[in-house]
Symmetry: C2
Subunit: 252 residues, 2 copies
């Protein structure tokens, strides 16, 4: 049984263009080309096309299909396993996206149409701007421009969920500071837990954590009255206590 392009197209369900394309990229060549330049496919090509379509259904790229089909010693199992992992990642991403879309719809339905998101984005911008105004110069000197830019970029790229978690963690730290301070000992388990939470919090916005940076920041907290004012709102002397706790944590 021999088929021209459109004959094969009809029985296989793909378009003629697709068959010509597959010929062009070397995925499926016709058995022969007749004297007038027509592509002629035979039974073997029909079978091959079936296999190609099978893998195509699985969203394997034509490039990969080419290897799977034409290399007899190709490890199909490994290829499929890799492909499976890709699909899994894709689905995980899809799930996250769907959750966000759901939440966004809910927030619109909840009567604050777009406002919350606006606020959220605004918060992030404000936070970055404030950071930049207040500590930009010091930070840039201390850690270099790239680090600061990276930090800002990370903040901007944060999802609302991350942002919420970060602010929650910020509040937790505030409470922990009060508790830990009562122990009077910057080496107490409470103080060390405080320092650890502070590290976690830091890592939300800091691209890469190092002990040195952490220690540097702690010093800056004490040196800069704006930080001191903030942490001393929890308890007087809280900023120094936090610095000591961080130093102890680092040297653990």
């Amino acid at each position: 049984m021999e088929y021209t392009v459109n004959k094969l197209a009809k029985i296989s369900g793909v378009s003629g263009r697709t068959l010509r394309y597959y010929d062009k990229i070397g995925l499926l060549k016709p058995a022969r080309v007749n004297s007038s330049g027509y592509r002629i496919y035979g039974q073997k090509e029909v079978d091959l096309l079936q296999q190609i379509l099978f893998y195509r259904e699985l969203e394997v790229s034509l490039e990969d299909i080419k290897e799977i089909i034409h290399q007899p010693d190709f490890d199909r199992k490994l290829a499929l396993k890799n492909h499976y992992e890709e699909l899994k990642d894709k689905r995980a991403r899809l799930d996250k996206i769907m959750a966000t879309v759901e939440k966004t719809i809910a927030s619109i339905e909840g009567g604050n149409p777009m406002q919350d998101k606006d606020k959220f984005e605004g918060f992030k911008e404000k936070l970055i701007n404030e950071n930049e105004k207040k500590y930009g110069k010091e930070n840039r000197e201390k850690y270099g421009d790239d680090t600061v830019e990276a930090s800002n970029a990370k903040l901007r790229g944060m999802s609302q969920e991350d942002y919420d978690n970060m602010t929650k963690l910020g509040e937790e730290i505030f409470e922990l500071l009060k508790e830990a301070y009562l122990t009077g000992d910057p080496n107490s388990p409470e103080a060390l837990k405080l320092a650890e939470k502070h590290k976690e919090w830091l890592m939300y916005s800091w691209p890469s954590y190092t002990k040195e940076a952490h220690a540097g920041l702690a010093e800056m907290y004490v040196a800069d009255e704006r930080f001191t004012a903030y942490y001393d709102k929890a308890v007087k002397g809280g900023t120094k206590f936090l610095r000591d706790a961080i130093n102890n944590y680092i040297n653990m």
Copy 2:
């Protein structure tokens, strides 16, 4: 605060090219262009970009984002709901694909590496070829070329699972025929069940079921010795019994 392309690129995490592209397609125009042709963005554009990136994360197309962002009376909720439906479909498809990939891997691991699929495809082709050789002419005369081609296409497009179910159903019919024949009555519940199963089986390969086609096929079974030989393997006179059962079933 004013930004040139690369400044904005850095703080937003996108590339300069992306910003120029967004300008070109009218998604995000700079606040102004200075005397040397440089794009200058302001705070408003930063905020807009944030929103754009938010929707981009959700895999909304730039075309759709344009409407969401720039049309104040646009129904964002509806847009997101539609988008959500799309995502749902996408995930459903992904799930199906993943299941098939898993099965294919399992079949490779099961020790019949690729052979089964090969065989499967081979079977399908053989089935179609045999059908074509044996009954092609009759069928084409009876139902028209288009119907036959459609039937073949459907067969070819069948998944292995469908194929397996079809062959299993074929065996079931064979057994049912034996049982039903014992009742001696082509109107007995067993006979009617047989006819129904035969209809199910038919529908695997037949694009659209009609009573007339079913009856026509039943007649062909009796008239054609190759069919008769097949069904009479179950019991002598089985083919005729099947035809009668089908006719009774149709006229129920």
